[in-house]
Structures are given as C-alpha cells and as structure tokens.
C-alpha cells in the first residue's frame, strides 16, 4: 500500500510524458477484490449470493449422500443360509443410497446391446481406433493430420462397418442386435459427420442464384424443419418402403440414420446460412476481383470464416443431435438410454430406474460437455483479430 502511495506521489511530481505505468491498487486485485467485485458489489448482489449458497446447501449434501456416501458399490457378501443368486436389487436394500451394482452388473449390455458376447472384441477394436483417430484429429500436438484425415473419413467407415457387421471371414452380426452405447455412438457419429457437409451444401443452395437449386434447398430445409424428428423417424421407417421398388428392403438402422442425418442437416443449413450472412459483402468482392471461381471463393474465403462464426450454433446442433438419437427408441431400436431403461425393468432390478437415468445423464453429459469445451477452444484458436498474441 505504502509503495503504491509513494508511486502515486511520484507520478504527480513528474513531468507529463515521462509518467510510468503503475500496478492497480491492491483492493482491486486478489481474492478479496474479486469477491467484492463479483459477489458483494451491491446489497442485491450480496442477497443473491447468500440465496445461492443456501440453495446449494439444500441440494448438494443430500445428493452426495445418495450418490456416494449411502450408495451400494459392491455386492454384499452372502448372508448365512441364503441361496446363491446373481446380483439383484435386493442386494442394495441394506443401504439407503443409490444401487450402483445395477450399473456394474449391466454395463456390458449398456455398452454393446445384444451384440454376441464372443464377438464383442470387434466392437472394442472399433472403439479404440475411433478414440485414437478422434484424439489425433482434434489434438494440436499432432501436426500431420492429412493422412489421418484420409484414413478416418475414407477408410475407417468401411473398416468399422466390416468389423461391426461382419462378412469376409467374420461372422455376420445383424444390425438388430446392435444397441446400447455403441448404437448411440454410431447414430450420433454418422449424423455429425454427414450433417455438416450436407448442411453446408443446403445453405449454399439456399443462397444460390440458380432458381432450381434455390427452390429445392428451401423446400427441403423448410419441410424437414417443420416436422418433428419423431415424425421423420416414423416416416423413414414406415413410408420409405412405399417409395422404393418392391423387393428392395432397406435396413431399419440405415433408414433411421438417413432420417436423423437429413433432420440435422436442415438445422445445420440454417446455422451455416447465419454464418454466411454475417460476412461482409467485401469478402466476396475481394476474392472475386482476383478471379477466383465460385467453389474456390467458397472453399478458401467464405466457408472458413462463415463456419468459424457459426461454431457455437454448429456445436449446439451436434449436441442436440446426440441427445435426439434417444428418440430412435420409438422405432424399436435399443440405444443407450433405451437399453438402460429396459435393464431397470428386469424383474431382478425393479426399482433401479433412478440409478439408470442418473448414470445415463452422466454419460451424455460427459460427451456433450466435452463437445462444448472443444468448441470454445476452437473458437479461441481460430480467432485472428487483435486479441491474438
């Protein structure tokens, strides 16, 4: 304090033009300063702070005691004289809290659905390749992404399909046996990978000068956006076969994938269009004046900027797409949520619905929160204005 005062005096004694820059007074920095600014800056703010603390006190301790302290984490040892039995809800009766042994006992099914146990190594391989490639593509430390990208987008889909479905020496596993977390990952992964480029094309189509392209894009976007996803899933499931020549049958999973992707693409198109419209006309003119053609202009100048602007909306769509995949339950697919729900309806596990939903919520949250954080990192990374460096 005394130091600062001395400096201030120094400043007032100095000639204009040679005054040094001083640090801000200590009351403005540090924990005390932060609390004064953010938590207790006015009496109303202080009241809200106290209220929030009280609400946290009401919610957090009971939740913690249910989820952690009073929860059953292990199957209790068999009571003397009791008959040996597989783990079940009864084993949790001794504790008031959550019955996590349900999740533990059912975890393989939650992950693989009805995929045959002896073939699950194939799914594991796909998971590992997926995790490694996604990490490689998103990490900043890995520089040579070109080969990885070619592998991931051109080779991996076929490899994954072969591993999961079978054929060519592997035992065939019908898609109706696919389920659980694996199915959710397939649905949202394929939805994400295809809806973005499709959405970009629709957005460009909607802004096109060619009347036919424009009209087709508008009709598709507006039709799909005007209809709930459930309807589209029903239509994909029930109506699509009517439009196809007899004898050709399209797999349920494929139909659902098509429905989910087109649905997401229509929303994506509008988000991308928002990004396109945010760009000043000068960007188009600057590029056109140098003789760039339409696709060069879009690929090199417009889309990189428009997509960066649209990142929050795009990731918003990815997140809601991931969560919307739970709706496939309605056409009889057992995605992650549906299979957990089915698990807690098992007679051995009646009464474990809360645990099941809590577990589901946590897994979905981890994935969606990761996407959200990554998008924020991406926005910062791609910012090239004054703030950088």
């Amino acid at each position: 304090m005394s130091d600062t005062t001395a400096n201030n005096n120094l400043n007032s004694e100095m000639e204009p033009g040679v005054r040094p820059s001083l640090p801000p007074p200590t009351t403005e920095t540090g924990i005390i300063g932060w609390m004064r600014h953010n938590l207790f800056s006015s009496w109303s703010n202080a009241l809200l702070t106290v209220l929030a603390l009280y609400l946290l006190y009401l919610v957090v301790p009971p939740f913690l005691s249910w989820a952690v302290i009073d929860a059953t984490w292990k199957v209790p040892p068999l009571a003397a004289g009791a008959e040996d039995h597989p783990p079940q809800f009864g084993d949790c009766r001794a504790n008031a809290g959550a019955c996590w042994i349900f999740v533990e006992a059912r975890l393989p099914q939650f992950i693989f659905g009805f995929y045959p146990v002896e073939q699950r190594w194939r799914v594991d391989i796909v998971f590992v390749i997926l995790a490694v490639s996604v990490f490689g593509l998103l990490s900043e430390r890995i520089k040579q992404k070109k080969h990885l990208a070619i592998f991931f987008f051109a080779i991996f889909p076929f490899l994954a399909f072969w591993l999961l479905y079978g054929g060519l020496g592997l035992e065939v596993v019908e898609t109706r046996l696919w389920g659980g977390f694996m199915l959710t990952l397939i649905l949202s992964g394929i939805g994400i990978v295809f809806s973005l480029p499709l959405g970009v094309l629709l957005a460009l189509g909607r802004r096109s000068d060619l009347p036919v392209v424009h009209l087709l894009s508008v009709v598709l976007i507006e039709f799909v956006r005007g209809v709930p996803l459930i309807t589209i899933l029903f239509m994909a499931n029930v109506m699509l076969p009517f439009f196809l020549p007899p004898g050709i049958e399209v797999n349920v999973l494929l139909r659902v994938l098509l429905g989910v992707t087109i649905f997401a693409a229509a929303y994506m198109a509008e988000v991308v269009r928002g990004g396109l419209q945010a760009l000043p006309k000068g960007q188009y003119e600057g590029a056109m004046a140098m003789g760039l053609g339409y696709w060069q202009l879009m690929r090199l100048i417009i889309l990189p900027q428009a997509l960066r602007i649209a990142i929050p909306g795009i990731v918003n769509n990815f997140i809601s797409l991931t969560q919307d995949t739970t709706l496939v339950a309605i056409v009889g697919l057992y995605d992650f949520l549906n299979i957990v729900r089915a698990g807690s309806r098992d007679t051995n596990w009646l009464g474990t619905e809360v645990e099941g939903y809590a577990f589901c919520a946590m897994v979905y949250w981890i994935f969606c929160f990761a996407m959200s954080r990554y998008s924020m990192y991406l926005e910062r990374k791609l910012h090239t204005g004054h703030k950088k460096r």
Binding site: P280, G282, Q283, E285, G286, A287, M288, A289, M290, G291, L292, G293, Q296, L300, I301, P304, Q305, R308, L382, T384, G385, H386, K388, R389
Partner: protein, 257 residues
C-alpha cells in the same frame, strides 16, 4: 507537384479499356447514363464527383462486380458479357483496391498475397511467396508478412491490399476510394505507394478526392455527377479552368476543406 508529373511515363495509344454508351440501372434508378470512356495503356485517370454520382459503380463495372445493362465494355480485348470464363479472364488482369481493403482476416498477410497466384494462376507456392515478398518490400512492410490483417493499422492494411492485387501482375489497377476509410496520418503512406506505382507505368483508374494525388500523377481527371461524365481534362486545366458550373461548385467544396 507539376514537376513530379513529368517523371511519370507517358501513356501509349493502345486502348486498354473501352466503355461505349454504357448504361446501368438499379431498379428504376438510372445510375450510369451513356458513359463513353477510353483508357489507354499506361494512362492514369482520376475520377471524382459527389457521392452517389456513379463513379464507384462505373469502375466496378470494369471488372464486372456490377453488371451493366446497355452498351459495351471491352477490357484488354475481351468484351464483358454473361460469359463467366471471360469475366474471370478480365478479373485476372484487372486488380482492384477497395475502400475497406477487403483483406481476408482468417489468412496471414503472406497467405492473402499468395492465394490468388496459387489458385488462379496455378503458381507453385514457393514462387508465389517470393513474388509476394517482393511486393511487400515494395509497399514497405515485409516485416508484417506473418501477421494477420486484424493486427495491422488501416494504412498498412491498404498497402497489403495493393500488394495483394499486384501479385497477380495485373495490366490495370482500379482504386475505389482507397484512402477514404483511413485516418489522416495514414493517407500519405498509401498515396506514396500509389504514386510509386504510377511512376512504374501502371494503367490506373482511381476514384478519389485526393486532388494532390490527381495533380501529381493523373493524365486526365474526370468529373462525374448524377451518372454522367460532366467533363474531363488534364489536371492543370481541370483545376484552373473548370468548364461547367457543377464542377466549379464541387471543386470549391472539396478544395476549401
């Protein structure tokens, strides 16, 4: 100033740009009325006039950023029609500098400069970068090559924009009010670059109100009002003896500031 003009090479008698009876409408609004203009190779023309007089629209028709509805525009032997190939061919040969620079903010300065040579001229990247550095040196900011446009001052950005156009090795340079968006202390650095360019014999059309610049380098000054070319003359004559009343009024307004 008049002496500086003598350092500038004289234009040839080869027509580079020909506008004959060009008319353009925005909806019902007749924005260009029967424009006739021939620009010779190596000629430097300054276009001035009140705002809304159609001067920007006229030069934007020359590289087809705007479409004219009647008349003929021929640039370097190619007539501008709906033929996209021709339009892109003309745009390759005609550089343009805009009021608001229109640099690409997501690319570094060097990438801004090499983009068109690489993608339009199919120049190898290394060669394009060498060319780019030559022009960055010419506009006196080679040290900014790795920065993003958002990190430069307005004057520096406009100089980058000029260098970017020059990298395409154009036959004509169009300037659309290049100094109007700049702070006063930055106008000179941009004008210096443009004067330098004029001395190298580049064919230039500049829409500008910098009358000092017009006196220094222009062969001809054109005054436009309400979509028409009202008068044109050598700078000396134009400023000393404006023929029309409208020109006199305009000059008195901008020169008394």
């Amino acid at each position: 100033m008049a002496q500086a003009a003598q350092n500038v090479p004289a234009p040839s008698d080869q027509p580079m740009i020909e506008l004959s009876a060009v008319n353009k409408w925005y909806g019902q609004f007749h924005v260009l009325k029967d424009i006739n203009l021939t620009v010779y190779s190596g000629e430097r023309i300054v276009v001035c006039g009140p705002s809304g007089s159609g001067k920007s629209t006229m030069i934007r028709c020359i590289n087809r950023l705007e479409e004219h509805q009647k008349g003929r525009i021929v640039v370097d032997g190619a007539e501008l029609t709906h033929d996209l190939k021709k339009i892109e061919q003309v745009r390759r040969e005609v550089g343009m500098v805009f009021q608001h620079f229109n640099l690409f903010p997501h690319l570094t300065v060097l990438e801004n400069l090499t983009l068109a040579p690489i993608w339009v001229r199919k120049m190898p990247k290394k060669e394009a970068e060498e060319v780019a550095m030559t022009y960055l040196k010419r506009v006196k900011i080679p040290e900014q090559a790795a920065k993003y446009p958002g990190q430069l001052s307005g004057g520096q950005q406009q100089r980058v924009a000029i260098a970017r156009s020059l990298c395409m090795n154009p036959k004509v340079m169009l300037f659309d009010e290049p100094t109007s968006a700049l702070d006063p202390e930055m106008i000179k650095e941009v004008l210096d670059v443009m004067i330098e360019l004029a001395k190298s014999g580049m064919t230039m059309i500049c829409v500008t109100h910098e009358m000092g610049f017009a006196r220094t380098v222009a062969n001809r000054v054109i005054f436009m009002d309400r979509g028409e070319i009202i008068e044109q003359n050598e700078p000396e004559e134009f400023f000393k003896n404006p023929k029309s009343e409208r020109t006199r009024l305009f000059l008195s307004q901008i020169l008394h500031h």
